[in-house]
């Protein structure tokens, strides 16, 4: 029976033996469910165990305890053809051109070599394809890594900080690319520090700290950890609007920039407009308040340590 989750991790533990010192616990009882389809963000500060978890998923590291299943299989070699991955900085043969590197990988993965040009095009590396990888910039190596991932035409992409070293245009390209891949029905699992990027493209996230998962679920839900939903309301008669809304059961406060912060469920937008309109207050702006993932992240990961 195949599970609906693309990745399932249960009570995963990994400790590394260190010379002359106590063991280092990198992952400490992690449970994770990554639904198939969509972009899943895997967040956490440096050293929180993201890369180690990814290495466990890909069979590079043997878990001390617990289990990982990828595309319904606990034995990674069975599904390797369907999983494209980047672990930390992608490594290639410096002496070979980008194209030659991809051709070699295509040969290893028994993927038609005709795909190489297409993926180089897709990551915008066609021009530099025949230069030696040694001469590539960090961002270009990162793109080549993405190209290698796409070469497999994978169902699941496991990407460890794919945006590392990309310029703003590159970031946007990767963002769009990942979004497109998810829209094609693939599952994208990315670890990242770039919370703004993650917030822009991820459907769900998990936040790691010290080897444990401290929050996971759809992005909106995780964001609600910080006081639930609220709207930003701007209107001509702000003081009056505030008392009207508070009386109507929507606690409101001044934000200090000629607008109100109105605590209400997402679905309440229409009712807020109506409530104010009935009192002849016509609002000029109504938008959900953005809670940044960064704020949540710092709050959550801050008080654990």
């Amino acid at each position: 029976m195949r599970s609906v989750n693309a990745i399932e991790v249960s009570s995963l533990r990994k400790s590394f033996r260190r010379r002359f010192r106590s063991e280092k616990i990198a992952v400490d009882g992690l449970d994770l469910e990554v639904p198939a389809g969509g972009v899943y963000g895997f967040l956490g500060p440096n050293g929180s165990g993201k890369t180690t978890t990814i290495r466990c998923l890909l069979g590079l590291v043997r878990p001390t305890d617990g289990e990982c299943s990828v595309l319904g299989s606990t034995h990674f070699p069975e599904v390797v053809r369907r999983v494209g991955s980047i672990v930390e900085t992608p490594t290639f043969f410096g002496g070979f051109s980008g194209r030659r590197n991809l051709e070699l990988l295509a040969q290893i993965g028994e993927v038609p070599r005709t795909r190489v040009d297409g993926v180089l095009e897709r990551v915008d590396l066609a021009e530099a394809a025949d230069d030696r990888v040694r001469t590539y910039s960090l961002g270009m190596k990162q793109r080549l890594g993405m190209a290698a991932v796409l070469l497999k035409d994978p169902e699941l992409l496991v990407l460890d900080e794919p945006a590392n070293g990309l310029d703003p245009a590159g970031l946007k390209e990767v963002r769009d690319l990942l979004r497109d891949l998810a829209d094609e029905g693939r599952t994208v699992f990315i670890s990242s520090h770039l919370l703004h990027e993650v917030q822009l493209i991820c459907d769900s996230v998990a936040i790691m700290s010290h080897g444990r998962c401290i929050a996971q679920g759809p992005v909106d839900e995780v964001l609600q950890v910080r006081g639930g939903n609220a709207f930003v309301v701007r209107a001509p008669k702000l003081r009056e609007a505030k008392s009207v809304l508070t009386k109507a059961g929507y606690p409101s406060t001044f934000r200090g920039d000629q607008s109100l912060r109105v605590v209400a469920d997402v679905s309440a937008a229409g009712r807020i407009t109506k409530t104010l309109a009935e009192k002849s207050i016509y609002l000029t702006e109504l938008r959900p308040e953005e809670i940044s993932l960064e704020a949540v992240f710092l709050e959550l990961t801050g008080d654990v340590s």
């Binding site: 590079l60 070979f96 290698a148």
Partner: protein
């Protein structure tokens, strides 16, 4: 698996260490050929002056030197020592290039440096992959580690073995004009060629053995330098020490002696009993035992390397 094998073979062939050493080996053969060509001469009579001088000096030393008058149990020195004839002395200073002998002995001797080169090239083939982190990339494309290791071993062994044969064949060809113009080519019979080809094959197998050791050690150490260091300490220090301990009893189990036997080289063999004074003779011994023993060593090391590779984390 075929794809992986082919990819690894391509990687191996384009490695700089392999190419540079290959070119240097070809240059060395040509350079040595030119030197030998210049140093050799077509006829035996080239050594006549030296031979004459030697014989004259010898006669002077025996006939008129102070030693002639030494009496020793009623014998003169002339009775126990004799000087070579000019003909004999000529052979001693022979400057002719003896194609068959030289080609054969050079093949035997060059097999050893090639063993070390194969060891080093193969060790760096694996060690470099660990050093660059390329092993992670490879394993995300082929996670079955047995296959990954085999795909290193098979191309490295086949390519290095073939390279050794090609190099020796090239050397045999380079030597032909030297034999023809600056020496003698007698003895180039079918049986000679068979014998020579046998030596090439042995040298190729020895290089393959070296490559197995290199890959095995580099897989265990995950590092080229460490693998080379272990290999060096063993061959340059431990092997010679052990081979002289306990009247050479460890010799038959050590690398160097087995490699020499495999190349049909005579090895030291102690006969007799210590009480009567050991006699050391040089004998050529069968290569069956070394072949089996070295194969066991190579397979054993590779099996240990596989077991470790399989069990250890790749981080």
């Amino acid at each position: 698996m075929t794809g992986l094998l082919l990819a690894e073979a391509r990687r191996f062939l384009s490695r700089r260490s392999f190419r540079v050493i290959g070119v240097l080996a070809v240059v060395a053969v040509i350079g040595a050929g030119v030197l030998v060509f210049v140093e050799s001469s077509k006829s035996l009579s080239a050594s006549l002056p030296q031979a004459k001088q030697m014989v004259t000096e010898c006669h002077q030393a025996i006939g008129s030197g102070p030693t002639a008058r030494i009496r020793n149990g009623g014998l003169t020195v002339r009775d126990v020592a004799s000087c070579p004839t000019i003909r004999q002395a000529e052979i001693l200073f022979d400057k002719r290039f003896h194609y068959t002998d030289t080609t054969k002995s050079t093949t035997q001797n060059v097999a050893f440096p090639l063993f070390f080169l194969a060891f080093a090239i193969a060790a760096s083939f694996v060690g470099a992959e660990w050093a660059t982190g390329m092993m992670t990339t490879t394993l995300t494309w082929e996670p079955r580690r047995g296959r990954v290791l085999l795909a290193k071993v098979i191309p490295a062994l086949l390519i290095l073995g073939a390279a050794v044969i090609v190099l020796f064949a090239f050397m045999a060809v380079v030597f032909i004009p030297i034999g023809v113009f600056r020496g003698i080519t007698t003895g180039m019979t079918a049986s000679f060629w068979g014998h020579l080809a046998g030596l090439w094959l042995r040298a190729a197998l020895i290089a393959m053995f070296g490559a197995s050791l290199g890959i095995g050690l580099a897989t265990l150490a995950r590092n080229t330098v460490a693998a080379l260091g272990i290999g060096f300490v063993f061959v340059a220090i431990l092997d010679p020490i052990f081979s002289h301990l306990w009247r050479g009893r460890f010799g038959p189990w050590l690398l160097m002696q087995n490699l020499q036997r495999a190349m049909r080289m005579p090895i030291e063999h102690v006969v007799g009993h210590a009480a009567f004074g050991n006699q050391v003779t040089m004998t050529v011994q069968s290569a069956t035992r070394p072949a089996i023993l070295l194969s066991i060593y190579a397979v054993g090391l590779l099996a240990a390397a596989y077991a470790t590779f399989r069990a250890r984390d790749v981080t």
